[in-house]
Symmetry: C2
Subunit: 237 residues, 2 copies
DNA sequence: CTCTGTGAAGTCATTCACAGCG
DNA sequence: CGCTGTGAATGACTTCACAGAG
């Protein structure tokens, strides 16, 4: 265990490891070596060991890692043992889709508030979870009352920086941004941007160059379920 | 102009450059040097030059790049001069949100078909664009008829690999995947995964460690509009 | 003898720094 | 001169390979 700086690539992988371990636990597997884990999910065993070693000595030499124990450690390292309360700014298509997204729950995130500037939407409750839509001008107050600690920006690019400023002023330190702009965050605030435009345009680049030997995703995986996967096609036409 | 292998990081940046240039063009700027571009948008000028030089000698020494000309080149390099037709598998919240997403249009993408296995949804048209929902079993046929060349996977992780197999069998070479699984693509097929779980869990990691001096997003940007940005707060809540 | 944890080596990406064009 | 295009230098991330724990 060193206390060097942990790169974001590493934390992303920790999240993947946790997901893999959850699958293994579900399959009743109690113990796994870095090598077996790497083989299963197409990763590199040295990288797994190195990533984990930043945070402690979780393995047992000659044996491997206890699946359950490692799950607990990763959950704790990733801070998923504390519930997070998410406020979503922008109650358009994307915002409401996210408010209804169930994938959050497994990671201990819950959407607790939506914000919009459209009077027609304010005051309504949306989706199965019945998340309330608030006036975006009340953001700071609602963030306090609802103890929101993560914000999602799902507004047009034009106003995204302004929204980010509001969100930061409300004291939020972690933001997931879907607007296709580079946002300027103050120190101590973390913004992760998911830029669909970039993703699509990269795909377009690839399509424009069919000659390229697709080495882009070098290790190509087998998800756990590949085992139960002989159904290349059960459909006709 | 070399014809080395272009990394995905580079193509992602090309997409960003194009966006920046569009802003500049909108502001009436005709010519820009790599240095000025880098300053404006918080990038590194050498990197801009290097990225561009992979594809040709677009600049004029002593002067810089013609904004319009470079826009045209980038559009062509990224293959955005050809329209792309997108099929979205999964007409749930996310799928329908994407079908209505306008951001596509600027990059010359259009959502032309949705697919689902829910009988109640099949045959209906969704959103402003009135995109038709098809039975997922008819995917190959619809892909052919509608000339779909890009697929979006917006289905539960459990079935994502099966859907990818179908999509690949239908001859699609470029896929944007929202399911939180590592998918196994055959050679010559490009899958880009947008994994919200990883993004959220990384944010959670960050929140669990407030002491970390946030160096994660080393260059912190000024979007073009920062200029018109003195409104840190016009709201009182 | 197996598998971890980790220095050392290797690979890939970014940045520097400057020759040379316009 | 100013700025591009690019080799060379640096830095970041990954993989190798092995000492040593169990």
């Amino acid at each position: 265990m060193k206390s060097e700086k942990i790169s974001e690539l590493t934390t992303n992988r920790l999240s993947v490891y946790l997901r893999c371990l959850n699958l293994l636990a579900g399959a009743g597997i109690k113990t796994i070596s870095s090598q077996a884990l790497a083989d299963q999910f197409n990763m590199n065993s040295a990288q797994i060991r190195k990533d984990l070693a930043y945070f402690g000595e979780f393995g047992v030499r000659g044996v491997g890692y206890s699946v359950d124990e490692l799950r607990r450690h990763l959950t704790q390292i990733l801070g998923l043992d504390n519930a997070h309360r998410v406020g979503i700014v922008g109650a358009g298509n994307l915002g409401t889709a996210l408010a209804n997204y169930n994938g959050f729950t497994a990671s201990n995130f819950a959407a607790v508030a939506l914000f919009d500037n459209d009077k027609a939407k304010v005051g309504r409750r949306i989706g199965e979870a019945q998340v309330m839509v608030h006036d975006v001008r009340k953001l700071a107050r609602v963030v306090r009352d609802e103890r929101v600690d993560v914000a999602v920006i799902a507004v047009p690019a034009r106003v995204a920086q302004r929204v980010l400023n509001q969100v930061m002023s409300a004291g939020i330190k972690a933001i997931l941004n879907f607007a296709p702009v580079r946002l300027h965050a103050r120190l101590g605030v973390k913004v992760k941007t998911v830029d669909l435009t970039i993703s699509l345009e990269s795909l377009s680049y690839f399509l424009a160059r069919p000659q390229i030997t697709c080495v882009t995703n070098p290790r190509s995986i087998l998800p756990y379920e590949e085992i139960a996967q002989r159904d290349e096609q059960e459909l006709q036409n």
